[in-house]
Every structure is written in structure tokens, then in C-alpha cells.
């Protein structure tokens, strides 16, 4: 690169990684959980001869084809970026960090194969065999996300390797890499999140439709299936998240100090809602709930629970003040929105329990329509907590971020290009999905000749008159 363009790559590499991961993670819940919801609809369609469910299942699978494709290619970019942005990290740690990805490759392969069979198999496969070709997608989706999160968890709790005196990895225990201490908690949190976010996202589209007066059975079913999945996931997520937070308190005190904005080690730590940490170590603004952080950290010892503060760690090993404030704000957003989504789920659950119906007020639909985006924000906030909370480390206490980054000074250019490309891809994805929905609405029901699982007709040719695109 020319010297005029020699700009420090580290902040740009971090920005690009954060941006591309943040983009890809929106598609992940759809990849992981949508297939399960499609199968619920598909099962209902076959078992109860429910035509609305059938139309839903096969339209969802068509949407899924688009989101899966975009998810696959943006995931591929991340694979490239491990090398392009973090070559020195990969050069040193790939031998350990790479192991969970090798496992993930198995799941991704399975997923890609069966997504294709399921999506393209509607017309000619028999109903039950076709249904079963969808099941591996669900299993692979869960397995794949567990594997990827295992790699992330390893960055937080690196284990399963031995270094020689020169700092080179000389021995690897693959199982200890995969099943590192943080892995079960983080993986559970993400898998449940995938079902929660996927459910709320899909339901929100139908909530919008119902708000616009499309109150038919098809739309209600399109709302109820994913919303029920999400509503069931929400309380589970609260329990998993609470367990994880306590685990972080016990095992990653520096991250916990950032989460709770604790400058000095002490007991009776308040849970401060919002607010920020100043450079002199004082906390201003926000609403402190006395003793709450201590109580939540260990209910047995209550307010006398001691929480380690940032001052317990060397300055060079702490997240910066700005990072602490980012982590704390993200934490508050995650907890706040998570609680809101939980209450929304309870509302839905009670209404269903007592009246076998959705809550009558339009406010329920309005909030449900917002829940899709809110759940995405919640999930993104969660990733900010764990990623920014690990700073300044890329591998906790083993390698700093700047030591893992590329030395290519042109990263700022690739960052700008990637942002531009992703904005186009993101906007287009939404437009294409909306266009598909609108087209189907205008077309109405499936006509006679398009009944799935129909008799095997003659092989149609591409370009045959019924498939010619008309502008």
C-alpha cells in the first residue's frame, strides 16, 4: 500500500470484524431456528390436513432459501476475515482455536445439503420423507452454533493447549479446547437466543400484517407458531442468562466488574441502571438499586457478597473506561429488553391459558411487531457484553488484540467497501423478502396444479412457458 494510506489497521480491523459479525448474527437465528418452525407447520399440515399450515411451511422455506444464502456467504466472509484481519492470532492459535470450526464444518455441510433437499423437495418427494429431510437442518443448526460459540468461549477461557518456552503451541487436547469452561454456558445462551430471536422476528412480520387488517387464519397461524416458540424460549433464556452471569462473576471477574461498573472491590455493590463510569473511578448518573449486584452475584451471602473491582487488575489488563461504559450500557439494554420480551411472553401465555386466544388489545400486536427488532438488539447487546468485556485480550490473558491483527494498512479501505456492500445486501434482502410476501398475497391461494406432494407430472423444462419471467 502507498504510504499515504498507511493507517493503523487495528481499529479498522476491529470495526470490520464487529460490523460483519454483527450483520451475520442477525441471520444466524433464522438459520438455526426457522427450519424448526417450518417443520412445526409442516407437521401440522400433514397430520391435520391443515392447508394454511402447508402454505406457511412452504412459503417460509422459500424465504429461508434467501436468508440461508445470505447467511452462508456472510459466514464465509468471516472465515476469510479470521485470516485477513487476524493472521497473527490465527498463526499462533489456529491449531487450538480451529478445532471447533472443523466440527462446525460438519454441521454446516449437513445443513447446506438438507436445506437444499428440503427446499427443493416440496414438489416431488412424498410428504413424510420430505418432512424428515428437514430434521437434519434443525440438528445441524443447533450443532453448528454450539461449535462456533465453543470457539468464542475458548477465547474467553482458553484451555486445552501447552506452550513451549518460546510461546508456541506444542500440544493440543482437542476435547479440552472444545469443552472449555465457558462453552456450556455460552452455547446454551446462544442456542436459546437463536430460537427466541428467530421466533420473535418471524412473528413480528405477521403481527404487522394483522395490524394492517390481515386477520385471517393464515396470518394468525403465521404469528402463533413462531411467537409460541419465542415465548417458550424467553423464560428459559432468563434462567440460562442468570446462571451465566453468576458464572462470569465467579470466573471472569474483570468482565463482571465492567458489566456492573465496579471501580473498587467491595461488598454491598449496587446494581446501577444506566449511568456511566468517569475516568476518576466514580460513577455518575443512573439509578442505583442498593446492594442488588451483590445479591444477584450470590444470593446466599446477599449484600455482603464481595464483587471484585477494576482496581484488582493491572491497568494494562483492564478494559478502558469507554469500553466499560459500552459493556455496561449493552448489559442494561440486554437485561431491559430481555425483561420486556419476557413480560410480553407472559402476557401471551396467560391470555392463551385462560382464553385460548391472543390478547385482544392492539397494543399487544404493536409490541409484538416491535419485538422482532427488539430481540435482535437484545442479542447484539449480549455479544457486545462478551466481546468488549474481554478487551484488551483477543485470547484472554494470552494475546492482546493488537498483537493478533494484520499488518496490512489498507484495512480501512476494505472496511468501507464491506460496509457499502453489506448495506446494499441488507437492504436488498429485506426488499426481496417483502416483494415475495407481497406477490404471494396478491396471488392468493395456491392453485390446483401447484399442490405439493402431487402426482409426478412430466419433467418440466426451465424456460417452459409457465416459468418465463414477465417484466
Amino acid at each position: 500500500m502507498m504510504s499515504v494510506l498507511a493507517i493503523d489497521p487495528v481499529p479498522w480491523a476491529r470495526s470490520q470484524m464487529a460490523f460483519t459479525l454483527g450483520f451475520h448474527i442477525i441471520l444466524v437465528p433464522l438459520g438455526v431456528s426457522w427450519a424448526a418452525m417450518v417443520l412445526i407447520a409442516n407437521y401440522r399440515a400433514i397430520k391435520k390436513d391443515d392447508n394454511d399450515a402447508l402454505v406457511l411451511a412452504q412459503r417460509w422455506s422459500k424465504f429461508m432459501a434467501v436468508t440461508f444464502a445470505v447467511g452462508a456467504v456472510t459466514g464465509t466472509v468471516l472465515t476469510f476475515e479470521f485470516g485477513l484481519l487476524w493472521p497473527r492470532f490465527m498463526g499462533k492459535w489456529g491449531e487450538a482455536f480451529g478445532v471447533p470450526f472443523a466440527v462446525e464444518g460438519l454441521f454446516f455441510f449437513t445443513e447446506a445439503i438438507f436445506v437444499a433437499i428440503y427446499i427443493y423437495g416440496w414438489k416431488r418427494l412424498k410428504p413424510w420423507p420430505h418432512f424428515w429431510t428437514g430434521v437434519p437442518i434443525v440438528i445441524a443448526g443447533i450443532g453448528g452454533s454450539i461449535s462456533v460459540v465453543a470457539a468464542n468461549a475458548w477465547m474467553n477461557e482458553p484451555s486445552g493447549f501447552t506452550l513451549n518456552s518460546a510461546g508456541k503451541v506444542v500440544e493440543v487436547n482437542a476435547l479440552d479446547v472444545i469443552f472449555n469452561k465457558a462453552m456450556p454456558y455460552e452455547a446454551a445462551h446462544m442456542v436459546v437466543a437463536a430460537y427466541l430471536v428467530g421466533g420473535f422476528l418471524i412473528a413480528s412480520v405477521y403481527a404487522m400484517g394483522m395490524l394492517r387488517g390481515r386477520n385471517d387464519r393464515y396470518h394468525r397461524l403465521g404469528f402463533i407458531i413462531p411467537f409460541t416458540v419465542a415465548a417458550l424460549a424467553t423464560p428459559v433464556q432468563m434462567a440460562v442468562g442468570d446462571t451465566l452471569a453468576r458464572w462470569v462473576y465467579q470466573n471472569e471477574p474483570i468482565k463482571f466488574a465492567a458489566i456492573e461498573m465496579v471501580p473498587k472491590t467491595k461488598s454491598d455493590v449496587p446494581e446501577t441502571l444506566l449511568g456511566h463510569l468517569n475516568s476518576d473511578g466514580t460513577v455518575s448518573g443512573g439509578i442505583p438499586i442498593p446492594g442488588m449486584a451483590s445479591i444477584l452475584s450470590d444470593p446466599k451471602t446477599g449484600t455482603s457478597t464481595v464483587v471484585e473491582g477494576r482496581n484488582a487488575f493491572p491497568t494494562s489488563d483492564q478494559p478502558t473506561i469507554a469500553q466499560v461504559n459500552t459493556v455496561h450500557l449493552a448489559w442494561d439494554v440486554m437485561i431491559g429488553l430481555g425483561t420486556l420480551l419476557f413480560l410480553l411472553s407472559v402476557w401471551f401465555g396467560l391470555s392463551w391459558l385462560f382464553r385460548r386466544d391472543l390478547p385482544k388489545t392492539r397494543w399487544f400486536l404493536r409490541i409484538a411487531a416491535a419485538a422482532g427488532i427488539l430481540s435482535v438488539v437484545t442479542m447484539e447487546a449480549g455479544w457486545v457484553v462478551t466481546e468488549v468485556g474481554r478487551q484488551p485480550w483477543i485470547v484472554f490473558e494470552q494475546m492482546r488484540v493488537e498483537d493478533g491483527a494484520t499488518t496490512n494498512t489498507g484495512v480501512w479501505i476494505t472496511f468501507l467497501v464491506i460496509v457499502a456492500v453489506y448495506v446494499v445486501v441488507g437492504v436488498t434482502t429485506i426488499l426481496v423478502l417483502r416483494g415475495m410476501g407481497r406477490r404471494w398475497r396478491e396471488a392468493g391461494e395456491l392453485d390446483e396444479t401447484e399442490v405439493p406432494y402431487g402426482p409426478r407430472g412430466s419433467v418440466e423444462r426451465p424456460g417452459a412457458p409457465d416459468e418465463v419471467p414477465v417484466g
Partner: protein, 343 residues
Amino acid sequence: MNQSDAVAVVLFFGVTAYALFGGADFGAGFWDLIAGGAERGERPRAMVDHSIGPVWEANHVWLIFCLVVLWTAFAEAFASITLTLFVPLTLAALGIVARGSSFAFRKAVFRTRDRRNFGAAFAFSSVLVPYCMGAVAGAIASGRVPAGGKAGDPWESWINPTSILGGVLAVTVCAYLSAVYLVWDSRRLDDAEMAEYFRRRAVVAGAVAGIVAFVGIFVLRSDARYIFDGLTSRALPLVIVSALCGMGSLFLLVRGASRGARLLSIGAVATVVIGWGVAQWPYVLPESLKVSQAAAPSGTLTAVLVVFVLAAVIILPSLGLLYVLDQKSLLPGEGVESTSTGN
């Protein structure tokens, strides 16, 4: 064979599979690109859509497979490659995004203008990506990527005779393979006219690929001596088999009698890719980093091999199922609604 050799073989198995399956998908994009205007190119494009629709994502996973095996088993080489070849790899990554998403979008939209724009993005990136991949291969093969997780020249490393050869050869070979596969897909769908259309293109592409490969011998002799020596000694049998397969497939294609042509074309391409691997043996990065030096600790290699065995047990039969269903025309289209619904 020790562990590191075995993993190197696994890696090359992935590279070969990616060339044969992913390569054909890229080639389909090439034919899409030069199929002409919206009207004239409609039928070939529909055939391309139909042909790679159900399989391209699965085929594409071989790339992930290769990258993951490379960075896990040969981390130092991976660091050197990504540091040195930052530009072509970034272009390839962007191309993959443009290609995959616009292919998916094109099928989901109906206005001619939208289809044309997405189609152009798909087709253009289908040529860009294999070119970059070929250039990367050329950079590695010609010893321009230094060992030690260090960066080589950011430009000359991939703008040089061997890289240009690699890029052009990748694009032509992809086009050739794809045209051959498309002949079969057209026949399977009883479209004799398209079968003929792609047969003629397969002949041209095959001839061009052969010429490029022949010229390549001289390029390698002056620019990538280690590989050249390897290709003319221990990899020579593979080179000969490749040449024979290529000529045999061309012969069959020209005569229109296509039985065996597909198999021979696969053989021609596979032996070239494997020949490259054999020729640069025992190096990951020729003349600076040997497979045995670059290999990860034994625990990692065992994990990679175990995963590969699992893949052989789980993935290969699944892929087989996908291809068999596809070849039996049991995967005719997404969903059940015909694409004309929204007009």
C-alpha cells in the same frame, strides 16, 4: 503415512472437491455472463439456474472445509497466505457475497430489470472469484508466500506470470467443467437444443483450457521452477493422465457422443489439481515451509482426521443423496408455487 501427510492429503481432497463441484458452479456463472441479452440468454440462464440451484450451497462448503483444515492444521502457512494475499482474498470474499446473494435474489424477483442486475452481479463475480482463487494458488505454487507468518509482496505476489496463469486456467477450467455438466442437465430435462448449445461451448472451453494448460508449462518453467520440476518428474504420470483425459473428453464432445465425456473431463481437472499438490510436495509453501514443519501438534491433527472420517461417514452419503435426488429430477424447484405466480 504420518499424521501431517494424511492431513495434507485431506486438505488436497477438499481442494479437488472444491475445484470439481464449486468450480462447475462458478463456470455456470461464466456461461450466464456471456449468454447475451435478456431474450437470447433466457434459456441458457434458466438452465444454469435450474442446474446449480439445489447444489451450489453444498458445493460451496468445500471452500470452508479447505480454509478450516488449512488454518487448523497448518496455521503458520495460513497466516502467511492471508497476510501476503490480502488483496485477492478480499476480492474473492466480496465476490462470494455478491455471487451467492445475487443468485438467491435473482430467483426471488420477477422484474426483468431486477433479474438483469442481480444476474450481472452473479455472473461477474462468478468469474472474479475463481480468477482470484487461481491467482492465490499461483502465488503459493510459485513460492511467493514466505514462511513464518510473514507478509510477502502485497502486489507482485499475485500479479505475476504464474498467478495470471492460475487465474486464467481456473476460469477456463470452471467454464469447461460447467459446460460439460450442463450438457447432461439439459439432456436430463429433454432439452436437446440446450444440450447442443452447451456441447459446443464445452468443446471451445475445453480446447481453450487445454491451450492455457499447454502454455502454462512454459510459464511455470521460467517462473515457478520447483513446481515445474515436480510436474515433469514425480507428478508426470498425473499430467499425462490429465492430458489424455482432456483430449479424450474433447474427442467425445466433438463427436456428440457424450457417454464418458463427463467422467473424462472430471478426470482431466482432478488430475491437474492433484498434480499441483504432488508437484509441490513436500512443501505447503514451496521451498520455504514443509508440510511436516508447518503441521499442528498431534492432538489437533488427530481431531482433523477424526472430523474427516465423520465427514466421510455423514457428509459424503448426504451429498450423494442430494446429487441422486437432483439427478432424478426430484428437486425441481423451491416450494411448490410456480415462479409465474406473481406476474
